[in-house]
Structures are given as C-alpha cells and as structure tokens.
Subunit: 189 residues, 2 copies
C-alpha cells in the first residue's frame, strides 16, 4: 500500500564525496556533497549542487574548478566532518589529517587519501533555489596505482570500499548481487 509523502529529495543510495577546491594552499578547502552524479558519458560530465551560503560555493565560483574525491569506509569520519564544519572556521585538510596533492590540470588540490580524484572544470552554474548546480566537465582522473589490476589494466574501485550515503546514514557496500547485464547473461556467474 502506498501513501502520499511530502515531495522531497529521496533518491538513494548516493555517493558521499569530498569536493576539494581553492587555488593555493592558503585557501584550500573541502566540502562533502551527496547532491552529485554523472550527467553525460561522452564528454564525461558531472555536477555538484552546493548551497550559496557554503564557504566552498564562492571558492568554486571564483576559480571555476573543483576535484571530486571518492570516499571510502576508512574516510567515513572525515567525510562526515567535512560536511558539517565550515572552511571559514577550520583548515579541513589539517584537522582531518588529509594531504593536498597537485593535480594534472586544475589548481584545486587532490585529496591523497582518496582512491580516485576526478578533476573538474565548471561549464555552467545553474541557480535552482536552495542550491546552485555546478555543471562541469571531467578534465583529468587520478587513480590509486594499487587498485589497478596489473594484468588487465582495469581500475578496481570497489576494492577501495567506497562509501555510500542513504537517507541520513553512511554505509559500506554489502553483498554483490550481480554485474551489469547479469539478468541476460547466458552463463551464470
């Protein structure tokens, strides 16, 4: 039985990513975002939606750049903390013992402790209401070398235990239920 519920934002589970921004060590900042995702495969494009009043909002608007850092179970506490605290009050890299690292293309720092850093350049800012959507192109990707299978060259993101955010709670991934296409595969795995 279905009952009406107030219209809201209930698409889950989502990634809980750390967005790093700034263009010099003095203004480096991190904000945690679940309102993020892929919007196009070719070209590779994504978005992050951020409230206007957040410290990172203006940093990203001014620099036109940010980095999406995939988080892991081991980073759960830092992920939560960077979403709750403000860069106006804290140096988040220092407080959370995270290491800024030079990217390939953008001046915004990578978070070294993340297994995958996606460098992004903003192509449009859409004002929607509570949040502005930063629409971006992926300009470079940095992957943890240990997670690349030496024989196949495949990046094994799921070996890093990525972190999910679902309706107010953080989770690791559970049981693997199948690979894309498993429902029509001729041989069962």
């Amino acid at each position: 039985m279905k009952v009406p519920f107030k219209p809201g934002t209930l698409i889950y589970p989502l990634p809980a990513i750390m967005v790093s921004c700034g263009n010099s060590p003095e203004n480096y900042n991190i904000i945690t975002v679940a309102w993020t995702g892929t919007i196009c495969s070719d070209p590779a494009m994504c978005y992050v939606s951020i409230r206007k009043e957040r410290h990172s909002h203006d940093l990203i608007k001014e620099t036109g750049e940010f980095v999406i850092n995939i988080t892991t179970e081991a980073l759960a506490k830092a992920t939560d903390w960077c979403g709750v605290r403000s860069g106006r009050d804290y140096n988040k890299f220092k407080e959370m013992h995270l290491t800024p690292q030079q990217g390939q293309v953008v001046k915004a720092p990578l978070i070294a402790e993340s297994p995958l850093n996606i460098e992004c350049k903003v192509v449009e800012i859409k004002e929607l209401g509570s949040h502005d959507m930063f629409i971006a192109e992926v300009v470079a990707v940095n992957a943890e070398e240990k997670l690349i299978d030496k024989s196949t060259g495949a990046f094994q993101l799921n070996h890093a235990k990525p972190l999910a955010y679902s309706h107010g709670k953080y989770y690791g991934l559970g049981e693997k239920l199948g690979s894309f296409g498993f429902s029509v595969a001729k041989r069962k795995k």
Copy 2:
C-alpha cells in the same frame, strides 16, 4: 601513489533506479538509470540523463513526465533487465511481473513493487552529448506504508534494502558506519 587514468565517469556508488514513463497502458515503459540524483533541496529537484536513442527518451520528451522508482535488493534482476532490454521489443512491466499503479499527479505509472515512487515533471532538457539531461521538479512522492514508523511518522527507506550500483556491479548496503553528523556528536551511539 596516483597515476593518470582516462577522464571518465567514475562517481560511485550510485542509485540504480527504475524510471517509469508513458501516459497510457499501451505505451508504459521502464528504463534503468544510474545517471540520476538530487540537484536542489528546495524546491525538490532531480535529474535523469538518458541517451537520445533510448525508447524512453522520446516518451519522456513528449509527455514531460516520469517517475523515479527506488529499487531494492529483491528488484535487482528486474532493475538490470530493464536497463539492458528495450521497450521497443518488450512490455517491461509484463515481462518482469511489475505492476503499474496510478500516481497522484502525473500520468506516468508508479511501479507498485518499489518502496518509493517520486513523481517528476520535466522543466528543462539539456543536450550534453551522448546523454540528454532531463531536469525535473518533484511534484509528488508515494511511500510504502509499511516503511513508515507509526510512532514518529519517519519513512525508513533503508529498511527496504535499497540497491546501489558501483562501477559495473550491483550491491546491497553493508555495515552502517554512522548517521549524518556523527563525527561531531557529543554522545556516541
């Protein structure tokens, strides 16, 4: 150690949602989408990105409506199948034994077997390349009554075992690592 990887769409874990569309039983269809997410909290807005050549693309473009149906571990096979097969060749509701149900506002059907159905109206279609992004407002939400806590009125989405999609594989949620704000909570749970 980080190594460059080809720029791509590597934000994970994502929701694996079933999008239902059409405006009469003859053209009802379902497409599975991971390129989806929340883009604004107030007003509640979301998106789905769909390749132009998909059957549902034109249905949603013509009707300006769709429904996001949260999927669960129990729906993993149907979720995968609806992403692989085309509505040009199959009646997906019938093939997957899913039940179309009348929504509150839109003509597109809810999937009764999903624990949460989010009715959406398209406000803009952005052509990005391989995918068009359908930007939408949430106009109604339908929740499984059994998942609403009778004492608090809270909807317990995570009790439905929502399905995640991460880098080519479907997963259930694993260990709960904390609630939003746990890193600054005064009393530990």
